[in-house]
């Protein structure tokens, strides 16, 4: 997937799909995002827009890696959808599960990406199922410079809910330990 390498970060390519939707409910859009993420999208999201006749609508966005994929579509496996690309699989989900009739597709969009690694840190808040342990994601330039340190949100949430410590304090404590 990696096709180019500059000095400070890696470069990948991805495909970006977009559909303007003015005739689906917000609950359907949130469901479509879940389906896209479960079926190989790198990311999926909605943007509020105003379409013709003043309609408060949404652009549904989805990005995926370029190239072929061997997975089935949406739990459904048949001759039609076996052995299709991630792009085709996600387009099929968009057409089946939203109300869109046309999807814009941009292929070979570059993405600059940081290197990432995880370290596990031990927090002093141990009265929880995680025993106060959370993973922290450390992201770096290719020269080793650390530019981002981020405690895993869902793990901090568990520690916060069971210890009563606010989540923002749990995550900043974990990130402080990881920086050392």
């Amino acid at each position: 997937m990696m096709h180019d390498k500059c000095q400070l970060w890696d470069m990948h390519t991805l495909t970006h799909m977009q559909a303007n939707i003015d005739d689906a409910t917000p609950e359907l859009l949130a469901h479509a995002i879940d389906l896209l993420l479960k079926n190989g999208a790198i990311d999926a999201w909605v943007q509020p827009i105003v379409m013709k006749k003043g309609r408060p609508a949404s652009t549904l966005h989805c990005i995926c890696h370029c190239g072929p994929s061997a997975d089935g579509v949406d739990g459904i496996r048949n001759e039609q959808v076996d052995d299709i690309s991630a792009e085709q699989r996600l387009l099929l989900i968009l057409f089946r599960h939203t109300t869109t009739l046309g999807i814009r597709i941009q292929r070979n969009i570059l993405r600059a990406a940081l290197k990432r690694k995880f370290v596990e840190v031990q927090l002093p808040y141990q009265n929880n199922v995680r025993g106060g342990k959370v993973d922290v994601k450390i992201s770096s330039l290719n020269n080793g410079e650390v530019v981002s340190v981020k405690a895993e949100f869902d793990q901090c949430k568990v520690v916060s809910e069971e210890s009563g410590i606010p989540l923002k304090i749990v995550s900043s404590a974990a990130e402080r330990i990881a920086w050392v």
Copy 2:
């Protein structure tokens, strides 16, 4: 316009124009959308953004088919604007009718599109100028699988306004009949 055909849907290309605007009124933006749609845009819409100095602004978007067009611009016909492409015509409208000084243009964006056909259905609500008849748009994959059934909104609105039946009931009734 159709330059590629995959198994399940047709592919077209279009041109996407975008302008960030922080010095026009919302009423002017809505007027620009109307003008773009009347002059050959496939679609036009605005996205709220926040620009420098915290300005709550808009990105005005417009898509059109790639390639030349013989229509005049904006009702104005002269040697300058006769026989220009849809792209040029819409750019000219954007420059003349909004306050933008620079418009981003992306050509040859792919669009996957479903096949569409209309069927007319007869609703039990007949006390209206349409006699209870509304068109329903049925959209399908190229293999015939129906993925979307949608009653024409503006026709349902007429039936609703004249019969007093809520629009959401009119349209779902029409779509239920069309599915059969």
Copy 3:
């Protein structure tokens, strides 16, 4: 930078960078916009989006001219960042100063741009440091047709604050004078 010229406006190319961010504060995003604009971005802005798990997030956008640049990055000058392109400089700012781990990059996006010139006009409101003088930007098609006349906002703001005249009246007065 100008690589193409049509009849009515000039065409340039630019690079468009985008990052979806769900783990930074709004104050950090506003700061990133300032940094990008101070370091060679033509424009930078945020768009509200909703990401997975219903997170109210932002897409941070930045556009710059294509091609190399000799300036340093972000006040920091060293062997790593001297003599890099505007694109690389802005990517480095995004990675260092926001929390993004991946940035989408689109190069060679066309931009249609109007010709611009400034004229200074004298307003009747002279009790202010500007002596009632403000610049008005006049934008034209390449055939000379004026399509936009816009008083400099920040100058009108000074006149308004010191004279007590509402800004909208100051700017429309300046624009009326410039049209003559």
